[in-house]
């Protein structure tokens, strides 16, 4: 154990530089934020992830955001265990009929102000599962969506770019007041 801790101190960190925020996403978000809400939150966001029917591919890449290469927490972003602690809901998957109510209830349990980020191609419109009797559709069919990050699944860098655009938008607006 001592060896690993020592190594951690001596070696250059694995964490990589921050990617450029994703500009289209940033613009998409302008409409979504009211000034008062931005002021209150600053640059920190608590995120709750809800799998509404995904194949678990998106979950794997969301989990990867916590590894030392991406180190999500350095940006003030962290995953929380309850929707009641969250500012942002990340929703993955086509929304199945069996999960629609659970998603709606999770959304209702999240305090205002809140934002919804739909992650993955399925979350946009059901993806390759669209049209099934068991699928409601994309996330938008159940709760309002503020940002969509595409990909099957989106890699951690794409996820990071989208989330950074979200934080930066809020930070810039708060600072310019």
């Amino acid at each position: 154990m001592r060896r690993f801790l020592l190594e951690g101190l001596m070696r250059k960190p694995l964490t990589e530089g921050a990617p450029e925020p994703w500009t289209e996403a940033r613009d998409e978000l302008v409409a979504a934020f009211a000034r008062a809400q931005r002021d209150r939150l600053g640059r920190s966001l608590s995120i709750r992830v809800v799998d509404a029917g995904s194949c678990n591919g998106c979950e794997l890449e969301l989990q990867a955001l916590g590894n030392p290469f991406y180190d999500l927490e350095r940006f003030g972003l962290h995953f929380v265990a309850s929707p009641r602690h969250a500012d942002v809901l990340i929703v993955t998957g086509p929304v199945t009929r069996n999960m629609a109510e659970a998603l709606r209830r999770t959304y209702d349990a999240t305090p205002e102000p809140k934002w919804v980020v739909a992650v993955g191609d399925c979350a946009k419109d059901g993806g390759c599962f669209a049209g099934s009797y068991a699928i409601v559709g994309g996330v938008e069919a159940v709760v309002p969506v503020d940002l969509h990050i595409p990909g099957c699944p989106p890699d951690p860098t794409s996820l990071l770019k989208g989330l950074l655009a979200l934080v930066e938008r809020m930070g810039a607006e708060a600072g310019s007041r």
């Binding site: 154990m1 060896r3 690993f4 694995l14 992830v49 809800v50 799998d51 509404a52 029917g53 995904s54 194949c55 678990n56 591919g57 998106c58 979950e59 794997l60 890449e61 969301l62 989990q63 990867a64 916590g66 590894n67 030392p68 290469f69 995953f79 265990a81 309850s82 929707p83 998957g93 086509p94 199945t96 009929r97 069996n98 999960m99 629609a100 109510e101 659970a102 998603l103 999770t106 390759c128 599962f129 049209g131 099934s132 009797y133 068991a134 699928i135 099957c152 699944p153 890699d155």
Partner: protein, 503 residues
């Protein structure tokens, strides 16, 4: 006992090379097979519905062969297998939900995948408007000072949805009952009438962590049904991808299990190795999970000299870093205190349920499809299958540790003898109705795909059985008598697929 029906048994090398002949059985024959399963003559590999029929896939482990029995149903009713042999129960409930088929004599007639929220009932059968459903009755537990803890479907971590109903006495779990089906996407119905390439797309999105294994099993079934000869190089590249997938999942999960025992450093270290595997996969095959890289007839991505160097460097790095992490695991008493003797599963249960993967192998079920129902290119590779008898969380961790080492060895063996040649054979319809079976050892266990194709090569019926079907029920047994706080640890050591199970 009634006389067993004569089944057409096929050995592993044969069922992947040609269409699979299912044996028609009558009612007494079907009942006799159910009793033979209960008497441990065979292992149940799958049970699924069709329009007007029900099928069972059986494995005879002694003779290393497989058979499919089909009973035609005039009135949509068949003798329940689950009433003799518990592993069939959830499969029968699923067939009842999807097709409206009735397992006669079944003890548990509650719906399984159908939560009463679809607009149509029996979507693969008559497909009439859904009449709605009464609330789901959970099984009762009676005794002094019992209380219930409902968990899910939305869970605290970044994981898939499912419901766990714990009945506990103080901290000790008296009964766990799972309720699944939340991520049911209707894949079976989407498959109907689909082309092979669309089918491969759906198969690769059935359980994201096993996208390579699913695409392979689906392709195997299609290639068998249509008697397609896959090029040698494609077999080897498939195995390379499959071993990379196994490595990534095992490394990630070993770290995550330790993290559920509050040993976060292991998660950090293992997640670095996992990330390196995924990056190597992206550099060599163009996608971190290698999704859509295995297609019916072969593969869609090649490996060049640079890619080979990337994979060799990856294996070298894992061989360099992994042993000291294993040592750390083995020398941390506070961690072993959580994993040893926790979540024990008996040998008898894994044998009865035919539980595959590390869940079976950690409880003494010595089965690995790569060795026991062997397929190319594993017939030419050296593979040691790790088996333990202790059956606890620690044993499942150790089986996975040993499998990481095996995967590294397999990748090296594959790279050392990678023949040149084409990557893909054209897959043509035969003008006949054909059926095929695919069986591939994913990281979690054996994935079985049954595929029926029409004269034009479109899908008539495709049923994919995730290894989780025979592992989820054992998690209920594993947690009994343990404390609720150890559930995440037990659950992660199983790491069953929700999406692969719910379809």
């Amino acid at each position: 006992m009634t006389k067993l029906p004569e089944l057409v048994w096929i050995r592993s090398r044969d069922f992947r090379a040609a269409a699979f002949p299912a044996t028609a059985v009558d009612r007494p024959g079907w009942v006799a097979l159910g009793q033979a399963l209960a008497a441990n003559r065979f292992t149940l590999m799958n049970l699924w519905g069709e329009v007007g029929a029900v099928c069972m896939a059986l494995h005879d482990p002694e003779a290393r062969r497989v058979a499919v029995a089909r009973i035609a149903l005039a009135k949509g009713k068949f003798p329940s297998v689950g009433v003799h042999h518990a592993p069939a129960q959830r499969l029968e409930r699923a067939a009842a939900d999807l097709f409206g088929l009735v397992p006669e004599g079944a003890g548990d007639t509650r719906p399984w995948l159908d939560h009463g929220r679809w607009e149509i009932a029996h979507p693969l059968g008559a497909g009439a408007a859904h009449p709605g459903q009464p609330p789901y009755p959970f099984l009762p537990a009676e005794g002094e000072s019992l209380h219930q803890v409902p968990v899910g479907p939305v869970h605290a971590g970044i994981i898939e949805p499912g419901h766990f109903r714990f009945t506990a006495q103080g901290e000790t779990v008296v009964r766990l009952e799972e309720r699944l089906g939340y991520v049911h996407k209707g894949i079976d119905r989407l498959m109907q009438g689909a082309s092979l390439s669309r089918g491969a797309e759906l198969a690769g999105r059935t359980s994201g962590d096993s996208t390579v294994a699913y695409a392979w099993a689906f392709s195997q079934a299609a290639e068998a049904a249509l008697s397609v000869a896959v090029p040698e190089r494609a077999f080897r590249l498939r195995a390379l991808m499959a071993e990379l997938e196994r490595l990534a999942n095992h490394l990630g999960d070993i770290g995550a299990i330790c993290n559920d025992a509050a040993f976060a450093m292991m998660l950090a270290q293992m997640s670095v190795l996992r990330e390196k595997v995924l990056r190597a996969a992206e550099r060599t095959f163009g996608h971190r999970f290698m999704r859509d890289r295995i297609v019916p007839g072969g593969v869609s991505a090649d490996l060049d000299a640079e890619g080979e160097a990337v994979l060799r460097a990856l294996v070298e790095e894992i061989r360099d870093r992994f042993p000291s992490l294993v040592e750390l695991y083995d020398n941390t008493a506070s961690l072993l205190d959580r994993t040893v003797a926790t979540g024990r599963v008996s040998h008898d249960l894994v044998r009865r349920f035919g539980a595959g993967g590390y869940v079976g192998r950690a409880s003494g079920r010595d089965f690995d499809a790569r060795r026991d129902l062997r397929y190319a290119p594993y017939d030419e590779l050296k593979l040691d299958v790790p088996v333990r008898d202790d059956g606890d969380v620690n044993a499942r961790v150790w089986v996975r540790i040993r499998e990481v080492e095996q995967s590294c060895s397999l990748i090296t063996q594959l790279l050392n003898a990678l023949p040149p040649g084409p990557l893909r054979t054209e897959v043509e319809p035969t003008g006949q109705v054909r059926e095929g079976l695919g069986l591939v050892e994913g990281f979690r266990g054996d994935i079985l795909v049954w595929l029926s194709l029409d004269t034009e090569g479109h899908i008539r019926r495709c049923h994919m059985r995730d290894p989780s079907w025979f592992q989820w029920p054992l998690l209920e047994a594993a947690i009994e008598g343990n404390i609720i706080a150890d559930f995440p640890l037990c659950n992660k050591s199983f790491n069953c697929s929700y999406s692969g199970h719910d379809l």
